[in-house]
């Protein structure tokens, strides 16, 4: 497959970004230091180029609700101007993708999906939502995330004072440079933040405009990965895969089983079965970094696998997510991680790893 280039490639190169492939796209990993960009996001404001993610528009009269059956989100119950997190499941209840759904009008929604799964998601939604008009606008849509405790001040300059009224997980249509664009109060960092959707042609000018704010620095996907992990958020492909159900990933509270959706019957059946694997957050007792694919062991016996790991610059220790299998109660509180270059001691902790953030301020 040809690697796709973000339309801001020249902007990133001018900022000395290290570019590398991610989900089929050549994306900025960092602009000098992943750790500095992570810290800057938690203390000031960062802008992230997230143009690789996919956007799908679904138009359907709410009575038909074929789109509502395609995903775990009760899209017909959503308030206009709100966002909901959910999943696209296969018939076995496995996670084909995690997505954020925006209700734009009575009969129009936007689904924001992962880059690597965008094409497949579009085909599946189109097939399942047979009564709906489904279009993929990813190719024409650019997306930036503005994240950090100072994000609101930056957004006021870009989109006007009304942005102040925008609540958590809400979105609005705002005027930027004489044109109307979607801005939501969402993100993937655990900080106060916004996501902006604009047409490709406007992207480079807006990117430069955002970077004019003194508080703002660009941050790459390296910092984004540490930030989302510290915030206790899963990454598709790591914590979430077609072999994992929302139960195993700990997301049952996001799902209403009273309604009908693809994968529901299999999930209900699995809910009744006891045991199975379970996602946990853990921290290690040193600065050592657990990494994706490391084995989790208890008394030398393999009990699970690390799905994500990073050095947290805010906790000054390694943190991660992992799945445990075949464990007894009480057995999993403390365990070892085999890095392939030595063992690390770890223990289960509650997520998010960081609590005192600007997320809901």
């Amino acid at each position: 497959m040809d690697i796709r280039k973000t339309l801001l490639f020249e902007e990133h190169t001018a900022l000395n970004a290290l570019m590398a492939p991610f989900a089929g796209w050549n994306m900025p990993i960092h602009y000098g230091s992943i750790i500095e960009e992570t810290k800057h996001t938690r203390t000031a404001v960062s802008v992230f180029d997230i143009c690789h993610m996919g956007e799908i528009i679904i138009k359907e009269s709410p009575e038909k609700s074929s789109f509502g059956r395609a995903v775990t989100v009760p899209v017909g119950e959503m308030k206009i101007g709100s966002c909901r997190y959910g999943f696209l499941l296969n018939e076995e209840g496995g996670i084909l993708d995690d997505l954020l759904i925006y209700r734009k009008t009575e009969d129009e929604w936007m689904a924001v999906v992962n880059a690597g799964t965008a094409d497949q998601d579009f085909e599946i939604i189109k097939k399942r939502a047979a009564g709906a008009e489904v279009s993929d606008i990813s190719g024409d849509t650019a997306k930036f995330d503005i994240q950090g405790p100072g994000a609101r001040d930056v957004m006021k300059k870009i989109a006007g004072p009304d942005i102040e009224k925008l609540g958590f997980y809400k979105f609005g249509i705002f005027d930027i440079d004489g044109e109307k664009h979607i801005i939501s109060r969402t993100g993937y960092t655990g900080e106060l933040g916004y996501e902006i959707y604009i047409p490709n042609g406007k992207a480079a000018a807006l990117w430069r405009e955002i970077l004019k704010s003194e508080a703002v620095k660009p941050a790459g996907l390296g910092a984004r990965d540490i930030l989302r992990l510290e915030a206790g958020l899963p990454l598709y492909g790591n914590e979430l895969t077609p072999e994992i159900t929302p139960f195993e990933a700990g997301f049952e509270r996001f799902i209403n089983f009273e309604r009908d959706f693809f994968g529901r019957d299999a999930l209900v059946k699995k809910r009744e079965e006891k045991g199975g694997k379970k996602l946990f957050g853990f921290e290690v007792d040193s600065r050592r970094t657990p990494r994706h694919g490391n084995k989790i062991t208890v008394n030398g016996e393999e009990k699970g696998i690390v799905t994500s790991g990073a050095f947290s610059p805010h906790l000054n220790k390694g943190i991660g997510f992992g799945y445990f299998e075949k464990f007894e109660d009480g057995e999993k509180a403390e365990f070892d991680i085999d890095t392939g270059r030595g063992m690390i001691k770890a223990k289960i902790v509650k997520t998010p790893f960081l609590n005192e953030t600007s997320l809901k301020k």
């Binding site: 230091s33 992943i34 750790i35 390296g222 050592r288 970094t289 990494r291 990073a310 050095f311 030595g342």
Partner: protein, 128 residues
Amino acid sequence: MEIKEGYFYTKEHEWVKIEGDTAKIGITDYAQHKLGDITFVEPPENGKEISAGSAVTGVESVKAASDIYSPISGKVSGFNEALENEPGLINESPYDSGWILEVKIKDESEKEKLLTAEAYREYTEGLE
């Protein structure tokens, strides 16, 4: 990229500064750039006998874990303890405050096999 005159180098991107019978060892500016932010440095075992080219300790960065190979044979005689809490010193100052370990040199003639600053510069230019 900085390369310090008077130091010796390896193709694995370690540097050696020889002071009497002791070799001070670290990683080069080129290496710290490639690794990214260093997050952990494993203290080597003090007094351990090592031979040139063998792994003596390891560093972890935001990207990966890597071995540090000793450029010279001898006995581990020191570790830069400042790295325990501030491994980022390797990024900030790879040739000075970011040094990693000291080795009591067993055979001084081994330094003939190491690269000079000039030879290391040529070598890294060929890698770009």
